[in-house]
């Protein structure tokens, strides 16, 4: 589904990713862990197409296509979704309207007719209830006046309405208390199926108690330095990152 080969990325002339390789198959959940500044968020941003990053070498192939050649909205059309670490507040733009515009943008990209208003509302209502979001938040401007936890839940809510093929979760667990974490993880788990893949970027293994990954990678100095099973995350929790970094150095 997703194949990253030898990816090199710079910001303002400063190399951040230096030869990253990653293969994510359909239906798999991959966790990307690593110390601060290792390039985890850069990877998430580059996959979604955030401006400001310069890819100097390497390829990213998604469902056989060159992902890097696509605009952010085209990537969404292909099925890529990024849950932001810091969701953006958009004054004056109604949450549900934004979501409908997004869904219809994706549908148009795929040559499908716009969604029926009744069907859309039914879908929104069901997902709202499943994520324990207050209905009042739906008609508010996007993320404006939301608490930190509400913003993260709103990201997962958007994801569950848009039903992406590849969801990249950028530190979705940061700033969440344990109840919110459980709700967010439940939202992700409900979407897990044989066709949908997840890249879960996190600093802490705590999230992985709830979203159990198939593969765990450790990212440091812009490269994947170790890949293992779920047990690797537990080991990192117990021992920290230093032993790994020293072993590589």
């Amino acid at each position: 589904m997703l194949s990253i080969q030898n990816l090199h990325v710079e910001i303002d002339g400063k190399p951040i990713l230096r030869g990253l390789n990653l293969e994510v198959g359909a239906g798999e959940v991959h966790a990307i862990m690593g110390p601060n500044g290792s390039g985890k968020s850069t990877l998430a941003h580059v996959l979604a197409g955030k401006p400001g990053y310069l890819v100097t070498a390497g390829t990213v192939t998604f469902k056989g296509q060159d992902l890097l050649a696509l605009a952010p909205e085209e990537r969404a059309g292909e099925g890529v979704f990024l849950a932001f670490q810091y969701p953006v507040e958009i004054p004056g733009v109604n949450n549900v309207y934004m979501l409908k515009a997004a869904l219809n943008g994706i549908r148009r990209y795929r040559g499908l007719p716009e969604i029926d208003a009744v069907e859309f509302l039914a879908r929104v209502k069901a997902k709202t209830a499943a994520l324990g979001l207050k209905e009042g938040l739906l008609s508010r401007p996007v993320n404006q006046g939301f608490s930190g936890g509400e913003k993260k839940r709103n990201e997962i809510f958007q994801m569950s309405v848009l039903e992406p093929a590849l969801a990249v979760l950028d530190e979705t667990d940061s700033g969440l208390d344990i109840d919110a974490l459980r709700i967010v993880a439940e939202g992700v788990n409900q979407l897990r199926d044989a066709a949908r893949s997840f890249v879960v970027v996190t600093h802490y293994q705590r999230l992985l108690d709830y979203i159990v990954p198939d593969v765990v990678h450790v990212l440091a100095h812009g490269q994947i330095i170790k890949t293992g099973s779920r047990e690797l995350a537990l080991e990192l929790e117990a021992r920290g990152y230093d032993w790994l970094l020293q072993a590589v150095a």
Binding site: E73, A76, L82, V88, G92, V93, S139, P141
Partner: protein
């Protein structure tokens, strides 16, 4: 040839005509003042040079074209429509409820010209500016609206001035007079609309008097044609415990300027100035507002938002004056502007003159650009870049648009701002009473 020369040629008041003395005096005053130039502080950012040079037709008589699709006509049962300065009886409203008296200016000039003397003397007095004096000298088209004490008309009354491309280069000076009696209520929509090909020069004047305890909601919608010049004025006098909501929406014309003055004349008077302008390539739109707190315990709340694309230019100047004895007043002003192109320009200038010491005043002015992080956020959700731009621009204007209580007008504004009529409108904010 320019407007003054044209008028000097055409302007020969019949000494027997009503108000001929005042007309002549107003015209002399306008000539003496002359066309304003950027040397005049109030015209610093708006240069009329080259914009009033047409060989204008003045009082061209009953020749009117057929206007293209005009918004709001279907949504307003009460209306009076002028097409190329000619009353369109076929588009007129049904009878208004008792207590509302609506007469054309022509009828008032014929039947009761003396009733206009005080108003004319006021607007063509020594300190009158060029364009209000010009309006006083020339106005033949317009309406006089009077509300009896306690009369409430909350269904909007539409007064429309439409300009077609078929007319030759027209000069028109519409006059709208509103007298709201004590505790009355009126919602008025003043529409200035031009077809794409219209090249008229319009200098409308609106005079609002809000009697004690009355409420006037005034929506001014400027949708003139791309070749038009529009220089308008709204003068409101607000009496004890009365409230005026002035909403100015300006989208059209190549050069437009609106001056909105609110005099808070007695304690308890309140004004809300709400405005939105959007300029595109080749356009210049200037708003000048002046709030005069003449009495203690008066309130003003002002919010203007501006959008500029292409090489469009926007201007906002907001004067707030607090007279020495006007203690315990509250004045809030905000001007927020968005540049949508590197070639666009918006100049915003708050001017507060406060001569009382126990007052609450706040003001803020910003000029910014669309937020890249928000654009990326929307695009990452699958919204195409152009639509994301439109959505953010619309979001920026929401604070102004949501203050419009008349839904068809809110829809019209939303559609203009997004290019789509399919926008769920936010819940309306009820004005504080």
């Amino acid at each position: 040839m320019g407007i003054l020369q044209t008028l000097a040629r055409e302007f020969a008041p019949d000494p027997a005509a009503p108000l001929a003395d005042l007309r002549a005096r107003a015209f002399a005053h306008a000539r003496q003042r002359g066309v304003p130039t950027p040397r005049d502080e109030a015209w610093k950012y708006t240069d009329l040079q080259g914009h009033l040079e047409g060989d204008y037709l003045v009082n061209a008589g009953p020749k009117r074209g057929a206007p293209s699709a005009v918004p709001l006509l279907d949504a307003t049962p009460y209306r009076l429509v002028f097409i190329d300065d000619t009353l369109a009886p076929d588009l007129a409203a049904p009878a208004l409820p008792p207590g509302v008296r609506l007469r054309t200016l022509a009828a008032v000039l014929a039947e009761d010209p003396a009733s206009l003397r005080a108003l004319m003397a006021r607007h063509a007095g020594e300190d009158a500016n060029f364009f209000t004096a010009l309006n006083m000298a020339c106005a033949r088209v317009g309406v006089v609206i009077e509300l009896a004490a306690g009369c409430q008309l909350t269904t909007p009354l539409l007064i429309a001035f439409l300009h077609t491309g078929e007319a030759e280069q027209h000069f028109s000076a519409p006059l709208v007079i509103v007298n709201a009696g004590p505790n009355s209520q009126l919602t008025l929509i003043e529409l200035h609309h031009g077809d794409a090909a219209a090249t008229n020069l319009s200098t409308p004047l609106t005079d609002l008097t809000a009697g004690a305890g009355s409420i006037i909601e005034h929506y001014r919608l400027q949708l003139e044609g791309a070749g038009a010049v529009h220089i308008g004025s709204v003068q409101a006098t607000i009496e004890r415990d009365a409230r005026v909501g002035s909403h100015s929406f300006a989208f059209g014309s190549k050069l437009a300027r609106v001056e909105i003055c609110a005099k808070l004349a007695a304690p308890g008077a309140a004004v809300v100035l709400n405005g939105l302008f959007s300029v595109g390539a080749g356009q210049h739109i200037d708003h000048q507002t002046r709030i005069d707190h003449q009495a203690p315990h008066t309130t003003s709340v002002e919010l203007y938002k501006g959008l500029a694309a292409g090489d469009g230019r926007g201007v906002f100047r907001g004067q707030v004056i607090v007279q020495p004895h006007a203690q315990k007043i509250s004045a809030r002003q905000a001007s927020h502007n968005l540049l949508l192109s590197p070639f666009a320009e918006i100049d915003t200038k708050p001017e507060l003159e406060i001569y009382a010491d126990d007052v609450t005043c706040a003001h803020g002015a910003t000029v910014g650009q669309l937020d890249d992080a928000a654009l990326f956020y929307l695009c990452s959700r699958g919204i195409p870049a152009a639509e994301a731009h439109a959505l953010l621009t619309f979001g920026f204007t929401q604070e102004v648009v949501e203050q419009v209580s008349f839904e068809p007008l809110r829809r019209l504004l939303a559609a203009r701002l997004t290019g789509s009529a399919d926008i769920p409108l936010p819940e309306r904010i009820e004005p504080a009473s």
